[in-house]
Every structure is written in structure tokens, then in C-alpha cells.
């Protein structure tokens, strides 16, 4: 008996063997966001260190409250490097469900605060919302919590709150003025340590609020939430895996990094740049670790540069950097239109029986190969060359068109080129047409194909855009 395909797919699909720990997902997402933003922040963020030492055995049930003292207040100037130092032990209140730390730097500034655990934890960027870090459960050694921040022009105060070791969501802290804030906490799988700031109406003293004393810390395995053991910016765990891969395949560690991580990460960076800066993004390409670029139509947006710098920093051990090309670059959309226009103009010219157009970004050349009708005069190719050039200028204008070469070449045999496959290709962008063809695509009689990325093969083109996928 025949069945509906959707029904069949649903019935034969595997069901999850476990429930999703959404808390773990959210905590991991925040941690990764923090990691991603950290690198670039190093160059911009003046490190402000507030170091509190948590001796974990003290942070358990009935752990003591410890005094916290802010000894150096931040200046009001936002651009200045600022450092505050909290001496002594932080004020901690331990309970069965966690501990909390409150820091009040006084009336002199509202800070955006990032928290970091030990030296390897990432630091935040001023002006960003505050961060959450994850502290693995079952810690047995001393822990160092570092709080980083910079004064803002806002005169409000700082509240750093941290809640909730393995607590359920809905943890609530009561502020000095009686109002409350709540935090969504991860459940199971990790121990989120939330830090946030909040503008306050008035000064609050350094204070401690006890959390619920119900429950127990227990020991929760949190392999993915453990603080990153980093070498450069690639985690130690990743490096170990990569080394194993490298050994197994007889390649160098760097080659393994390039093959398995660097290339993927670059494509993610490019994807994010394209989505965040669609008006500026012009294209990107990996030709090899020493030949990788991202292009923009105008000045490269700061946010895009930060992403690229993050990427470079993460892979600094490779000693390569992404080349940023800005201003006067033809966008993917413009290029697509230009290729199609050139192709169409040549193909529709008198005397042309068949045409195939391709573009090679490395050389900046658009090449149209044509099969002429039998009675076409010999001068036709020169005419077609002019037609193609004019079409290119029509689309791009003189200035941008100058960066692209157009070539029309005569072919005496059938034109090869695109087939009907819908698989991804590393082929250049191209169009193909034939008079009298049986198959018409998009009603134009032309069939155009764009480059598409192939992560599995190298080197590969990365083409971003919506044009011509069919």
C-alpha cells in the first residue's frame, strides 16, 4: 500500500534516546559566545582585574561569609584604562544550591562586567552585556574568579551577582533596596555562574544575600563546560584530538588543524559576516592557508574586522592571516549580474549558435566561448568582444568594470560546461545557452551556475549569495 512520504519519514525517524538538557545548551552557547568575543577584546579591553579567590572547600554548605573590599575605584572616563582591585576574599555566601558574590564599586561608575575564571577564562568587551561563565561542579582545587570591566559614562552603580551552582531556574536575588532580579539557570550538566550588572537608584553596600540552602551540590560531570585548556586559542582537548588525527594520517598537527578546523571556522566567519553585513560583503575565498581573503565593497565594517581578527588570533599558531580587501570590489550579486548580462548579450548577437560563459575570480576574467553559425563573418568575434565589454560596463560602470577582463573566444566544437547535476561544484560561475535547446531554465533559455563551497575538498571557492544556484 502506498504511503505519504512525510508520514513515512516521520514514522521511520529515530526518536531521541534522551531528553535535551536545555540548560546545558544555553550555558554552552553563552560560554562559546564569550570565547568568541574574547580574543578581539584583548586588544581593546584594558584589563581590569578584580581577583577573588574562592577556596572551593569553603564554598559548600555552611561555608563562611567572607569580607570583600573594593580598594580602587574606576575613573569616569570611558576611554581610560581602569583597574580596580578587590583585595581580600570575596564576599561569598555558600548554600546548598550555590553561592553569590556581590560587588559594589561605589557611586563612581556603572560597569559592564565580565567574569572570568582563572587566567584562561575569556574576558569580555566593554559595552557588551554582561556575561555568564560556567564553573564546573565538583571542583576540588582552589578557584580564581576574575571580574573584568570598564567604567561607563553612566553614573549608575555596579551590581555583580553570581548565582546558582547546579540550581534550578528561577533563582532570585534580592537587592539592597528590596527589589529582586532573577536568573535563568542551567539545570544539570553544568554549573552556570551568572554575572550581570544593573543600574541602581542608590548606592548599595557590599553585601551578601544568601540563596536557598536547599539541595546539595553533588558532583555533576560537565566535560563540555570545563574551563578551556587553551594553547593559543585552540583548546587543549581539540589539540589532543587533532594530534591523534595527525598521527593517524601521517600529517603534521598544523595540517590537521587546517584541514579539520581552520577551514570550517573560516566558512562560519564568512557566513556571519555575510549575514551581519550584507551590504558590504563582496566575497571570500580560500585558496590555501596563505591565500585566504574576505572582500568588501567599501570600507570593511569594524564588526567584520573584529570577527576576522578573532579568527586570525584563534589560529595564530599557523602564522597566517586573512587578507581583507576593501573598496572597489565587485559584489557577488554584481558579478553574477555581469556574467549573465555578458553572456546574454553575446548569445543573442547575430551569428551566434551557442555560447558558454565563465568567470575566474583569480584572474578576474569573464570568458565567453561561442560557436558561430556557418555564415557568420570572421569579424564577428571582435564585434562580440565589444558587445561583451559594453554589457560589462553597463552593469558595473567604468571603474569597477576595469577590474574585470572580458574575453570572447571562438569554439569549433560543442561547448562543454554545466550539466544538470544538482550536486555542489567548485566550478567557476558560468552560464551556458544554446539555440533550440530542449530545456529552458527560468524562462530565459540560459542556464547559469554559481560557485558553491565544498568543505570537504581543498582548495575550494566560497561563494556567498543567492544568485544562480539552479
Amino acid at each position: 500500500m502506498s504511503r505519504d512520504l512525510g508520514e513515512l519519514l516521520r514514522e521511520t525517524a529515530a526518536q531521541p534516546s534522551r531528553d535535551l538538557d536545555t540548560g546545558e545548551v544555553l550555558a554552552t552557547a553563552r560560554r562559546q559566545t564569550l570565547l568568541a568575543r574574547t580574543g578581539a577584546g584583548l586588544g581593546m579591553v584594558t584589563v581590569l582585574a578584580v581577583v577573588a579567590v574562592l577556596v572551593w572547600p569553603l564554598v559548600g554548605l555552611d561555608g563562611p561569609d567572607l569580607p570583600l573590599e573594593v580598594t580602587d575605584q574606576p575613573p569616569r572616563s570611558e576611554g581610560d584604562a581602569t583597574q580596580i582591585q578587590i583585595t581580600g576574599d570575596p564576599v561569598l555566601t555558600a548554600s546548598g544550591s550555590g553561592w553569590s558574590v556581590w560587588v559594589s564599586p561605589g557611586p563612581d561608575g556603572r560597569w559592564c562586567v565580565a567574569a572570568a575564571r582563572a587566567a584562561t577564562e575569556p574576558r569580555g568587551r566593554p559595552g557588551e552585556p554582561c556575561w555568564e561563565i560556567s564553573v564546573p561542579a565538583g571542583i576540588e582545587q582552589d578557584e580564581v574568579i576574575t571580574v573584568l570591566g570598564r567604567a561607563s559614562s553612566n553614573g549608575d552603580q555596579l551590581l555583580v551577582g553570581s548565582v546558582d551552582l547546579a540550581a534550578d531556574e528561577g533563582v532570585e536575588l534580592t537587592l539592597a533596596d528590596g527589589s529582586t532580579v532573577t536568573a535563568t539557570a542551567a539545570t544539570g550538566g553544568g554549573v552556570p555562574f551568572w554575572v550581570w550588572f544593573a543600574p541602581l537608584d542608590g548606592a548599595i553596600p557590599t553585601s551578601v544575600e544568601a540563596l536557598s540552602s536547599t539541595g546539595s551540590l553533588g558532583s555533576v560531570p560537565v566535560p563540555e563546560l570545563a574551563p578551556p585548556d587553551t594553547v593559543g586559542s585552540i583548546s587543549g582537548a581539540e589539540l589532543q584530538d587533532l594530534q591523534a588525527v595527525a598521527d593517524g594520517r601521517g600529517i603534521s598537527l598544523d595540517a590537521a588543524i587546517v584541514r579539520h578546523v581552520w577551514r570550517d571556522d573560516f566558512s562560519f566567519v564568512v557566513q556571519e559576516i555575510q549575514e551581519r553585513f550584507p551590504e558590504s560583503f563582496a566575497g571570500a575565498e580560500i585558496g590555501g592557508v596563505d591565500d585566504v581573503w574576505v572582500a568588501f565593497t567599501g570600507p570593511a565594517p569594524d564588526g567584520a574586522l573584529e570577527l576576522i581578527e578573532d579568527f586570525d588570533r584563534r589560529f595564530e599558531r599557523l602564522g597566517v592571516a586573512v587578507d581583507v580587501r576593501a573598496d572597489g570590489v565587485v559584489t557577488e550579486a554584481q558579478l553574477a549580474e555581469a556574467i549573465e548580462r555578458v553572456h546574454r548579450s553575446v548569445f543573442e548577437a547575430v551569428g551566434v549558435a551557442d555560447a558558454s560563459t565563465s568567470h575566474d575570480r583569480r584572474t578576474g576574467r569573464i570568458t565567453t566561448r561561442v560557436v558561430l553559425e556557418g555564415d557568420a563573418p570572421a569579424t564577428t568575434i571582435e564585434d562580440l568582444q565589444s558587445v561583451a565589454r559594453e554589457s560589462l560596463v553597463d552593469v558595473l560602470g567604468d571603474e569597477l568594470a576595469a577590474s574585470i577582463t572580458v574575453s570572447v573566444q571562438r569554439s569549433y566544437g560543442p561547448l562543454g560546461g554545466n550539466d544538470d547535476s544538482d550536486e555542489s561544484h567548485s566550478a567557476p560561475s558560468s552560464c551556458k545557452s544554446r539555440h533550440g535547446a530542449q530545456r529552458a531554465v527560468a524562462g530565459t533559455g540560459h542556464r547559469c551556475m554559481s560557485r558553491s563551497s565544498s568543505r570537504a575538498s581543498a582548495p575550494s571557492w566560497l561563494r556567498r549569495g543567492r544568485w544562480g544556484s539552479a
Binding site: 519519514l9 545548551v25 550536486e423
Partner: protein
């Protein structure tokens, strides 16, 4: 007084959590059709959900956040390196790949899996997005970076290939009509 920024963050977190919980079973189902192992599918789906949460401000505005997340999971699965890491996590979490939970007869599931594997990757993705995740042609086209007509062509070819193997009805003849 203390809601500056926090209210939005808390709201986003609630949204993300609800999205993750709701999308989880369908994503695992979809990804398992792609990769053939439910435990690996779970790891890939979870990693994709992490990425969705990381980029929630963008993803939440898409017409199909679930479709986007599925695409990310498939991209992860297609990366040998990332898939290998997912397999290692699955192994660490569940042990050797044996106790796979199946909802129907193993033979039928394997037949469907084999049939899907006979498709090209774009065809397979288009079919899963359209018929398992119930996305429209336009949504699928957006996610795959293709034109709607191309999606119709993909699904039409896929169904043409699947029909003799799986004996599926052509409730999907719209695809055939669209491309003919």
C-alpha cells in the same frame, strides 16, 4: 529598576529554551535520517541548537529557525572532523552504538535510510526539509540558498528516485507539476 537589558535577556533565554525543547525531537529525527545514527544525530542536533542560541537574535527572525538549525546540523555532519567529534561524544555518553531506539521495524527504517542515502545531498536535504520538517518550498529555498524552482526540481527528482523503492504516494505531485 533592574530590568535594563536583563528583561530582554531573560525573555530571550526563555524563548531559546522553549525553542530548543520543542525542536529537539524533530531535529533528532531529521538529522538521524541524514546521518543514520540517533546518538550522533543527538550530538549534532545539540551542537546546532547551541549555535542557534548563540545567534538567536538572527535565527529567531528567520521564517524557520528549526530549518536553519537543521541545516547547521547537516553542515556539521558533513564536516568529517565535526562529525567525528560528535561520534566521540555520543560514544562517551551512550557507549558503543548498539542501543539505538527505533520507533518502527528496523527493516523499514533501514530501507528508508538506504533510500535517502541514494539521493544526492541536496535532494536529501530538500526532502527532509519539505516533508519531515514541513517547510514550504520558499522556506526550503531560502535555507538551501536556491530558487524555489530549483527546490521543486530537487524534490521532484528525489521523489522520482524514491517512489519505486519506498512505494510512496505522489501527494507530492505538485513538485512534478511545478517542474514539468
Amino acid at each position: 529598576m533592574v530590568t535594563t537589558g536583563r528583561g530582554t535577556v531573560a525573555g530571550d533565554l526563555g524563548e531559546q529554551e522553549r525553542f530548543c525543547a520543542a525542536a529537539w525531537p524533530r531535529l533528532v529525527a531529521a538529522v538521524s535520517h541524514h546521518c543514520g545514527d540517533v546518538h550522533v544525530a543527538e550530538e549534532l542536533a545539540q551542537e546546532a541548537l547551541v549555535r542557534a542560541c548563540r545567534r538567536w537574535s538572527h535565527v529567531s527572525r528567520l521564517s524557520s529557525p528549526e530549518g536553519w538549525t537543521y541545516r547547521v546540523a547537516v553542515n556539521l555532519a558533513n564536516s568529517a572532523w565535526r562529525r567525528q567529534r560528535a561520534e566521540r561524544r555520543a560514544y562517551a555518553r551512550h557507549g558503543p552504538p548498539e542501543a539505538v531506539v527505533r520507533s518502527v521495524a528496523v527493516e523499514e527504517q533501514q530501507a528508508v535510510h538506504a533510500a535517502l542515502q541514494s539521493l544526492t545531498a541536496p535532494q536529501r536535504e530538500a526532502v527532509i526539509l519539505r516533508y519531515l520538517l514541513d517547510l514550504s518550498v520558499e522556506q526550503t529555498a531560502e535555507l538551501l540558498g536556491k530558487r524555489p524552482g530549483a527546490v521543486r526540481a530537487l524534490t521532484h527528482r528525489a521523489i522520482t528516485r524514491l517512489r519505486p523503492v519506498l512505494d510512496v504516494t505522489e501527494e507530492v505531485t505538485e513538485e512534478a507539476d511545478d517542474v514539468s
